[in-house]
Point group: D2
Chain length 91, copies 4
């Protein structure tokens, strides 16, 4: 998880916002809201999931590749772990 308490809190806030959005979506579907309104809410969930992914990726790169005293070999090993995630989430 994020190393700094501030980063962890920011990520948790984003995750809770998405949970709140999905609860609002359930209510909107149950009371029969118009499709266009439903689609707009879904687009907002998607945008929030993208924002969460970008922020967590940034925090991870900072924690693993930037912070502390590390050797090139250590950073290369950590980069290999994150590289396939970058590829998969750009599809």
């Amino acid at each position: 998880m994020p190393h700094s308490p501030e980063d962890k809190k920011r990520i948790l806030t984003r995750v809770r916002r998405i949970r709140g959005q999905t609860e609002a979506l359930e209510r909107a579907l149950e009371k029969g809201d118009a499709c266009i309104a439903i689609l707009q809410q879904i687009a907002a969930v998607r945008g929030a999931a993208n924002g969460l992914m970008a922020e967590m990726m940034e925090i991870h790169l900072k924690d693993e590749l930037v912070a502390g005293e590390t050797t090139e070999d250590q950073r290369a090993a950590r980069m290999a772990e994150v590289a396939h995630l970058i590829r998969s989430y750009l599809k």
Copy 2:
């Protein structure tokens, strides 16, 4: 909302799955799971949000442009409503 009860149920199931994923993410963050595991869970939320958007868009096009007896003018008016959503969600 989706016109057929089956479509509505499929969309609700997808929305609830995303809610469940965000709840699991909160627990993972609270117990301090590794960042790579957190990133993979976030990537799954993102994939699920994309799948939900695609299915709802498809249902909406079916309900508005395909189903029933409609005139070209009616369909053109409905298309105009959905066109900006297509543009915005391809960003």
Copy 3:
């Protein structure tokens, strides 16, 4: 291809712009431009490809589902063809 000459022209203009952007990228790589500048040009190509996809999808839906006198069955058959494209391009 797009049914109206205006739509076809708009799509061709977008395709040619992307070709021009890739030619500029080649030149930038060959003369050794900074990575950040290269990444910004690549992000622009990606944005242009998304814009092209959205516009062509919209034109296709208009040509196939909106235009002319069609029966529900005809529109359902055309929708089936486009549905898997919507799913695949939202990944």
Copy 4:
């Protein structure tokens, strides 16, 4: 640009492939190919642009954050430059 000649060559190969795809798209539009075929070619351009972005991002992180002897401060300054790109390309 990428620091290693092999990386630069891989990026150039990807850029040239996209240029080739846009040239094929122009020909397909000019000879009036079916819309579904055009949409599939556009989806391929989009996928290739995403793959190019992911590979260039990975090379950039490797060159700037992994390679060589660097201080935490140097890496933090380089990370700040790339952070807004990560955010913008996840939209």
